[in-house]
């Protein structure tokens, strides 16, 4: 009998993901996702509601499949993107982690985040904040991210928000 997924395990996974992004270990970050991951940051349709149907409504980011995240990483690290060079310095704080549902092979986790970003190019600091909803899936001994939904609460974007700042 497998023990249910605990909050300590969830925190460990989420904190590790944040560390990989903050320290720009993108290969290790990508390895935390399932190949069929849904990575979704909806847009807001009004002051109070985000969009809910990524096929009929706009998202800020929507990808099905890890290979799309690999594209984003390729662009970030290519040296060919003005907006990504030099890279901003980021620090994520992930908190209020709750396991909202779990069985032997799946877990639902919610959390809040703030991401502080220092844009060295423009000498300005910004803070982005919102909520995470994860679906985690057991793959052998590992738990991988099968779905990550990011609700960005301050969605007036100051010039750029990349996958490293959310």
């Amino acid at each position: 009998m497998t023990a249910p997924f605990t909050r300590a395990q969830a925190e460990d996974l989420l904190f590790r993901e944040a560390l990989m992004i903050d320290t720009r270990r993108y290969d290790a970050w990508l390895a935390m996702f399932t190949p069929d991951v849904e990575f979704w940051m909806p847009a807001w349709r009004s002051e109070t509601e985000t969009t809910t149907d990524p096929d009929r409504e706009l998202s800020l980011i929507y990808y099905k499949g890890r290979r799309n995240l690999e594209d984003r990483v390729m662009r970030l690290t290519s040296g060919l993107s003005t907006a990504s060079t030099p890279p901003p310095r980021v620090a994520h704080v992930v908190s209020n982690v709750l396991v909202t549902a779990a069985d032997a092979d799946m877990a639902q986790v919610s959390a809040v985040f703030t991401c502080h970003r220092f844009d060295v190019r423009m000498n300005r600091a910004e803070c982005f904040f919102g909520r995470y909803e994860y679906t985690l899936r057991r793959e052998g001994a590992d738990w991988l991210i099968a779905r990550k939904k990011i609700t960005l609460l301050n969605d007036t974007i100051p010039t750029v928000v990349d996958i490293t700042s959310i």
Binding site: M41, P42, A43, W44, R45, S46, E47, T51, P54, D55, R56, E57, L58, S59, L60, I61, Y62, Y63, K64, G65, R67, N68, D71, R72, M74, R75, S78, L80, S81, T82, A83, S84, R121, M122, D155, T156, I157, P158, T159, V160, V161, D162, I166
Partner: protein, 445 residues
């Protein structure tokens, strides 16, 4: 306030010289005059009819710095008002959009019906008002000119403007190419994206028309496209560029060009062809039947349209409607939407949205490389050793009066045109912006 426009725009066509002074992007007085004369002194785009589809629906926006309420009454008639209570000036409607038979000011409860008429001044009888006050109109101030061109709503805070049809002129036919993609017209896909950049509004004006930057500013995006092109996976979205090579440096022959129109409206365009990578493909046959092949083919062309000064419709990687809102000389807000023909299939809509997000969003892979470049320009504009920029000279010997065989296909009569191979990258279309700018700014008394 008098602006000496020759200090900012050096336009000597006979000598082959067109230059813009960096100060046009940074000067506070120029900005104040632009707000007064251009954004608050003439036609600006307010929004789409489809943003308020039902009786009593409204949406809010800005004309320059002035908050605007665009409202349908109970019969469905549109009007535009200054979104400000006549009592103390408080902003009346607080949300981007909504439905209201009655707007009640949250400050002192003055109320207005959906036609902008005063419904009540709270405790008016007990208010010991003078007769003069009681005789005043307490309704909302209407925007002096308001007009609807095929679902595109425009307003002017100055009454001294030509009719909208005259202001748009031939460029209206380019709005037709957007409106006619469906018999029901165009709509905005739910989900608005707003971003800011720390640079002047005219950088956005120019960049939309700028073919020269694409391979320089977006090589990382082009590399992603090339990588996606090599695989046939359900997880990647077809790019509209995949069957087109007009932007590739090795391409030979005419692939597009530019048209400019009076009053500062411009289009740059490229041939895409009728390809399944374009969401409109499902309607290719019916659109040809309905509008003729010439107009249908134009709907499939890459088109970046600016209706001066604040509306851009970009149909390239996907389809975007943008509204430019200048905040200060060095700060601009962009409100952006995915614009789409009503009634398209679920598959086409999904494809359009996916193509849109990656390219157009400030959270995507292309737009940030533009806006960061605007910010680099704004920093560089402080350089006054040689204040005159050299970015308005490409195409000078290719620009001709009138149209060409491509514009003839839809009976379009531009003031000037350039036919271009992939490396010409016309910069003379910016002349239309700055000539309109000089005309509007120069009649300062």
């Amino acid at each position: 306030m008098t602006i000496d426009v020759s200090a900012y725009v050096d336009d000597r066509p006979d000598e082959g010289i067109f230059r813009v002074n960096r100060a046009i992007f940074t000067d506070e007085q120029v900005f104040e005059a632009e707000m007064a004369r251009i954004f608050e002194g003439g036609w600006v785009f307010l929004g789409l009819e489809a943003q308020a589809p039902a009786p009593h629906d409204f949406f809010t926006t800005f004309a320059g710095r002035v908050p605007i309420l665009v409202q349908r009454d109970g019969e469905g008639t549109f009007r535009a008002f200054v979104n400000s209570c006549p009592h103390k000036g408080a902003r009346l409607a607080q949300t981007q959009a909504g439905n209201a038979r009655l707007h009640v000011c949250p400050y002192h409860s003055w109320s207005f019906d959906s036609a902008g008429r005063s419904k009540a001044v709270k405790w008016q009888k007990a208010g010991c008002y003078s007769a003069a006050f009681d005789q005043q109109d307490h309704g909302l101030a209407a925007v002096p000119c308001f007009a609807n061109y095929r679902g595109f709503l425009f307003g002017s805070l100055s009454a001294d403007v030509p009719p909208l049809a005259e202001y748009l002129g031939e460029a209206a036919k380019l709005l037709d190419l957007v409106a006619d993609q469906s018999e029901e017209g165009a709509e905005l896909v739910p989900g608005q994206v707003t971003f800011t950049y720390q640079a002047n509004w005219k950088l956005q004006l120019e960049n939309c028309s700028d073919a020269y930057h694409f391979t320089s500013a977006h090589p990382s995006y082009i590399r992603v496209l090339e990588r996606r092109q090599q695989e046939t996976s359900g997880e990647v979205v077809a790019s509209v560029w995949e069957n087109s090579d007009y932007w590739k440096e090795e391409t030979q022959g005419i692939g597009g060009g530019s048209y400019s129109f009076p009053n500062g409206h411009v289009l740059n365009w490229g041939v895409f062809g009728i390809t399944p990578a374009i969401p409109l493909y499902e309607s290719a046959a019916v659109l040809a039947e309905r509008h003729g092949e010439g107009k249908r083919d134009w709907m499939f062309n890459m088109r970046n349209l600016t209706i001066f000064p604040n509306l851009q419709v970009a149909e390239n990687a996907s389809s975007q409607l943008r509204v430019i809102r200048p905040i200060s000389p060095g700060l601009t807000e962009m409100r952006t939407w995915c614009i789409a023909p009503k009634g398209e299939s679920d598959a086409a809509r999904r494809q359009r949205i996916r193509q849109y997000e990656d390219f157009f969003n400030p959270t995507g892979m292309a737009t940030p490389d533009d806006t960061v470049s605007y910010e680099n320009c704004q920093i560089g504009f402080a350089g006054t050793v040689d204040p005159w920029l050299q970015g308005y000279a490409r195409g000078m010997t290719a620009s001709v009066e009138g149209g060409n065989r491509f514009s003839d296909r839809i009976g379009l009569n531009p003031a000037r045109s350039v036919l271009a191979d992939s490396q010409l990258c016309d910069e003379t279309l910016y002349h239309a912006y700055y000539r309109a700018w000089a005309e509007r700014m120069g009649d300062a008394a």
